[in-house]
Symmetry: C2
Subunit: 126 residues, 2 copies
């Protein structure tokens, strides 16, 4: 079940900050691609050719924002993407869309907008 309401401005900001670096966006997309299996830090570094020190810096930012989770496996650290947070984020951005009159959203930009466009009318707040 999706729970819209966990998100607030500081969290949204830290998510956007986290994904605003090319390195971190690469890391997150790689982990999304890997799915539940995840990857240990060394594998990520090798795949993206990022030096260990620098990778630690970026993984810390992603972890702090909640975009990735980390689990210790012996001397390895396994990282996994948290896609659910992205879903919450979009819900947050669209929550007050058109001042509560989302039927107006048809007129916004090139395509439909608001939560209807994301999930369909029946799925909002589901």
């Amino acid at each position: 079940m999706l729970y819209y309401g966990m998100m607030d401005k500081p969290i949204a900001l830290s998510i956007f900050e986290s994904l605003s670096s090319a390195t971190r966006l690469d890391v997150f997309r790689l982990l999304v691609k890997k799915g539940p299996e995840g990857m240990v830090a060394g594998e990520i570094g090798a795949a993206l050719e990022v030096p260990p020190t620098n990778l630690s810096f970026h993984l810390k930012a992603l972890t702090h924002a909640g975009l990735v989770s980390v689990a210790q496996e012996g001397r390895y650290q396994r990282y996994r993407a948290n896609m659910a947070l992205m879903v919450d984020l979009i819900a947050y951005l669209t929550a007050e869309c058109c001042a509560g009159h989302p039927e107006q959203c048809a007129g916004m930009a090139e395509a439909g907008a608001c939560l209807d466009a994301v999930c369909g009318p029946a799925r909002a707040m589901q």
Copy 2:
């Protein structure tokens, strides 16, 4: 109709960079709230208490990323949010989820993930 495929890494990056500033996130959310009506620059600056010079700097970044559109009205510049781009962005992030086996996504993080979780199975690529 949503068209998944307009998004690429540089565009995704510029969107995240755009929304990684508190001022720009405030501006974008305010414009989403306003809907198709939009707001002129001066109104935005007054509402958020951002000096004109600084606001121009941030509006330029949002416009360049495609998150807002701008239309001239006499000596005013009217800005509107482009929600559709956010929908595309999520589709981009989830496109290669779980290496093409999105049924694995149930195991990711706290909630469902991938496009199914965003739009429901029937809506993917619709």
